[in-house]
Every structure is written in C-alpha cells, then in structure tokens.
C-alpha cells in the first residue's frame, strides 16, 4: 500500500505475508503458520495502537485515504441534497453542506471537505475555507434553526485560508460571527472532529451542544508545524511540538473540551470506512437522542455553560483550582 505510514509498515508486511500464504495452492497445509502469523499480527497491532505518539496520531488524522465529510455523508445519510453558496460572493468548495436524513430524521449536515489527490485538493483548497465558506455554513445553520432541524457538523481542516482575498472579504469577522451565532441557535448541534481540527477555522463550525472526536483525530490552537516554527524557527520539529501541545482525543477529553471519543476500527478509519461510519453513526445517535427533545432555551443555556467552564485559572479569595 503506497500510503502506509512508517509505523504501519511492519503491520502491513505481516498482513501481506498472511495473504500470500492464504493464496497458496494448499492453504490448509500452512494453517499452523498462518495462525502463528495472525497471532503475531494481533499482538503487534495492539502494541502499536496502544502506544501511538501525538505525531503518529497527527499522521493518521491527515491520512490521504481517511474518510472525509462527503464520505461520511454518503455512508450515514439518505436523500442528501447538497446546497451551495453564501448568497453574497461565491461557493466555497472547502466547506460542504446540505439537507439529509439520518436514521429517518431530517438533519442539516455541514463539514470541511479536503481532497484526496492534487487535482481535488486544488479544487477544495486543501479543506481551507474562505469567508464565503463560513457564511454558507451559517446560512445553512440558520435554515436548520428556522425549520427546527438538528445540525451535524464534521470538522476536518488544517485551518481557515490565510490569503489576501480571505482577509479582504473578512475572514476573521466571518469566523467570529459563526461562533456568536452558533452559541445562540435554538436547535441541537452535534460537532464531530473526524480528522484535523485546525484552530479557529475548525471551531467556526464547532460550537456544539456535544463535541465528539474520532479516536485518532487531532484538534489544536495552531498546527504542530506552526508551533514548531514559533518555538524553534523550524517547521521540521513539528513532531516534538505535537507532543507539547495536547492535541489528541484523550488529552482533549481530559481537558473538558470534548464530550466523548468515537472509537476507530483497527488500524484507523482509513482501513475500514464502513466500520468508522458505523461508529460515528452510533456516537451521533446516542448524543442526539440525549438532547433532541430539549427546548431551544435549554439547548442554548447548556451550550453556553459547556463552553463557559472551559479553562484553568486561580484567584485570590477563592481556592485555587480548575473550573
């Protein structure tokens, strides 16, 4: 497999050898050998994936074969109709959104969309939205609220695009307005970090009642490369930076930033799209079920309280500690 990451190679080699033995003219004669190799594979896999570093997780989160927003939409929803454009300037292909049905219920789905090859990545701007992408997302979220439909967002972006046009057309203001308006939407919002949660450009569709995160996804204030450039003037030190930054799903759960981790299939979502989608479906259904009958007031208040308590500080006259 051309996309094998360094730490995946020993596993892929073993898998290939097992496959070769199986394809042998007399597979029954080799069954002992196959069983032994499969046992070794299982143990190696367990060891590899239980000790993944933050950088290895970053590589998985960015894996070119990882399922993207449109893949999840295809695997999870029925009758999806994609809607385009911000009604002001254009249609940003780095953010997709539309109307769908999830387990028989209408839901507005919005997500960042990365490409899978160079041509597609150029069209999708590598999943880095312009202001019109955020405006499209907001338009669709307001539509959802107006018609009382829940909102499901998929986060997967290196960040909002840093370019001249993006600044001219108000990148910062577009992100800011999404943060404020999402906080006030009187409809259930579930956000799922499926790959890379890159800073403000990710958060701009991430102010949910529930924020879920795939097991090997990452979510951070700055990319490991950007952090390394600031700390050591060297983007190549991104692996070291990624360890300092606390960007993995277990870290974020501990810090109170996400509500739950969605497990990935063995070896990561890119090895089994259907398995990954089934887990996402189960996670979304669970959490949507918990909040879907709440009133608009309750949803807004709970969302407010959820973000309100994130952070750590101490103050005089109150005992030091985390709130």
């Amino acid at each position: 497999m051309p996309d094998g990451l360094d730490f995946e190679r020993p596993l892929l080699d073993l898998e290939n050898r097992i496959a070769e033995l199986r394809a042998d003219a007399d597979p029954l004669g080799r069954s002992d050998e196959i069983a032994k190799l499969e046992d070794r594979l299982a143990r190696l896999r367990q060891r590899t994936y239980s000790t993944l570093t933050a950088w290895q997780r970053t590589q998985l989160a960015r894996h070119p074969r990882r399922p993207r927003t449109l893949d999840y939409i295809r695997l999870l929803t029925e009758d999806f109709v994609e809607l385009h454009g911000d009604r002001v300037f254009g249609d940003d292909k780095a953010i997709v959104g539309g109307l769908g049905r999830l387990d028989g219920e209408s839901v507005v789905v919005i997500g960042h969309q990365k490409g899978r090859d160079t041509r597609e990545n150029l069209a999708r701007n590598f999943g880095m939205p312009h202001p019109e992408g955020y405006r499209k997302a907001l338009r669709l979220m307001e539509l959802a609220e107006r018609f009382g439909k829940p909102i499901l967002t998929f986060i997967d972006t290196p960040g909002a695009y840093p370019g001249v046009g993006a600044e001219e057309r108000g990148q910062a203001g577009a992100i800011a307005r999404n943060l404020r308006e999402m906080a006030g939407l009187r409809t259930p919002i579930i956000a799922v970090v499926i790959g890379e949660g890159g800073s403000g450009g990710a958060l701009a569709i991430g102010v949910g009642n529930r924020v879920l995160m795939l097991e090997y996804a990452i979510y951070s204030v700055i990319s490991p490369e950007g952090c390394a450039a600031i700390l050591w003037g060297d983007r190549a030190k991104a692996p070291e930076a990624s360890e300092l930054m606390r960007i993995t799903a277990p870290d974020l759960l501990r810090l109170g930033v996400i509500d739950a981790i969605i497990p990935e299939p063995v070896g990561g979502a890119h090895r089994d799209w259907e398995g990954a989608a089934a887990n996402v479906r189960a996670g979304v259904r669970d959490h949507l079920w918990q909040i879907r009958s709440k009133s608009g007031d309750e949803l807004v208040r709970e969302r407010y309280e959820k973000f309100r308590k994130i952070g750590a500080w101490e103050e005089e006259s109150l005992p030091a500690g985390q709130r």
Binding site: G163, L203, G206, V221, I230, L244, A312, W313, E316
Partner: protein, 286 residues
C-alpha cells in the same frame, strides 16, 4: 538614522551626544523616524511626524479613556495556571512571571466598570506588553465575566484590543476562549446591550476571529495591523508581495470591515458620542 549607529562607528563624531541622551528620543515604529519623546508624550503618544499612535499600556489607555478616578477594576486577581505543563525553551510559568514583573499586571487584559464622559460602561483593555496581549484561559474568563457583569448591570461593553491572538502555551484551552467570549457577546446582544470594539495595533489571530470583530460598532486606531492571519504567514502561503497598506486599519475601512478609523486624540469623544446614542438615561455628572 545615523544617530543610532553604534558608538564605535561614530567614534569622535559630535552626534554621539544624542546616543548618550537617547532617553530623550524615540524611534517611530511606523515611519522609522527619530522623534522627540516629550512631543510624543504631549500628543497622547502619537508620532508627531506621521501621526502613528504608539502602543500604550492598558493603564495608559484606561487613563486616556475613563473619566478621572472613574475606573473600578474587576477580577484583578485572576491568574493563569499551567494546565498543559508547557515547557519549550522556557517554562510557561516563568514566562508568566516575567510578563507580570515587566507589566505589573497579572494578565494581558484589565477589566472594570468605568465612566466615559459621564456614561457608565464596562471597559476591558488589552496590554500588548503582557505576552503579546495573547488570549488564554484567564483573558477569556475575565472578558466573559465582564460581559456577564454588563448584562447584570445593564451596561454597554467596550473592549480595546491589542493582541497577537490565542496563546499557544495553553493550547486548545486558548482556542476555546474564542467560543466562550463570543457566546457571552451573543447573550449581551440578545439583551439588547451595545458592544463597542476598539481595534489597536496589532489585533490579529483568534482575538480578531472572535470578540474583536463582533462589535455593534467597530472603531480602529490609524494604521493598526488588523487581520486573521499574520502578514508573514500570508506572504509565505501565496508567495507574492502583499498589497500596499494590506491589513492596516485604512485597508479594512476600505473593504467594509470596520466602521471608522479614529485618531487617538478624538477617540474618547467618539466613544462618548456612541455611548450617548445607545444610552436610555442621562449621563452622570463627570
């Protein structure tokens, strides 16, 4: 400027005297000219040559905006912890300590209740000298408390920003302060209370992409750098020179992103007029 060449270069030259008396002169960051310090101070720390408003501390800004003796600080004892145990070339705790020693502040924003031209308001002011005015847990918490106080007391909110954005050393917790402060402003807006955002040099990153751009009215000081991404990052991304005046206040005004560019000497009176517009009761005596 020849005046600031090293003493070795200037050995024997009469200009050396200026170097010795350097406290009298300062260099303007904008036009790079050397200007007379006393003249700068007299004009509210504005360059007499190019009218660029120099960066000022939170205390100086509050003194400039609030009526005399009419600022009561809130939540001044809040202090950052080190939730990630962050250490690069220096420990985060040590960076905080030196920022505190340097500025005499606990954190990068000072919040309180003030009167401006007699109008009561909640006023929050950033101090760029404190770790580049960066936003982490404490800044987000102080701003949120200040906005909640405004809701409770039915006061307007003014935030004067000067910030490089979210603080890396508190990682994802810094990012989440963008959502937290924006949510507080949603509450303020739904209570029909006004929010005035004042952008000063520089206002970038996660601060611009949250509360700074959410003002009912957005003012900017002249020539302030205001943007989402920093100009260096953009130049590296597009591999082209940036347009003249890109991401400066006047550029944002031109592109419809801010309401008004206001010279520093006119700022207080402009703020007073805006507060008067929104107020539903007469101003308190100054």
């Amino acid at each position: 400027m020849a005046w600031f060449r090293s003493k070795k270069d200037d050995a024997g030259a009469p200009a050396r005297k200026v170097v010795i008396a350097e406290g009298l002169w300062i260099k303007c960051e904008s036009c790079k000219d050397i200007v007379y310090r006393a003249e700068v101070e007299r004009s509210g720390r504005v360059c007499p040559k190019c009218r660029y408003p120099f960066r000022i501390t939170a205390r100086e800004r509050i003194a400039m905006l609030a009526d005399e003796g009419a600022f009561e600080e809130q939540d001044g004892s809040l202090q950052s912890l080190d939730p990630l145990g962050f250490k690069d070339t220096k420990r985060y705790r040590d960076r905080l300590k030196s920022a505190q020693d340097k500025t005499g502040l606990r954190e990068a924003v000072v919040c309180g209740v003030a009167r401006i031209g007699g109008w009561p308001t909640v006023l929050c002011v950033f101090d760029f000298d404190f770790m580049g005015g960066s936003m982490a847990s404490v800044v987000g918490e102080k701003l949120t408390r200040a906005i909640e106080l405004a809701v409770q007391k039915r006061l307007p909110v003014i935030i004067v920003s000067a910030s490089g954005g979210a603080r890396m050393q508190e990682g994802i917790l810094s990012l989440m302060q963008m959502a937290k402060t924006s949510a507080a402003l949603e509450r303020l807006a739904s209570e029909r209370l006004p929010y005035l955002s004042v952008l000063t040099d520089p206002t970038t990153g996660g601060v611009t992409a949250s509360f700074a751009m959410l003002g009912d009215v957005i003012l900017a000081e002249p020539r302030a750098l205001i943007g989402f991404a920093g100009p260096r990052v953009i130049a590296e991304t597009i591999r082209q020179p940036l347009p003249e005046g890109f991401q400066r206040s006047e550029f944002l005004l031109e592109h419809g992103q801010v309401d008004l560019v206001v010279e520093r000497r006119d700022l207080k009176d402009t703020v007073r007029r805006i507060l008067a517009f929104f107020a539903d009761r007469p101003a308190l005596p100054v």
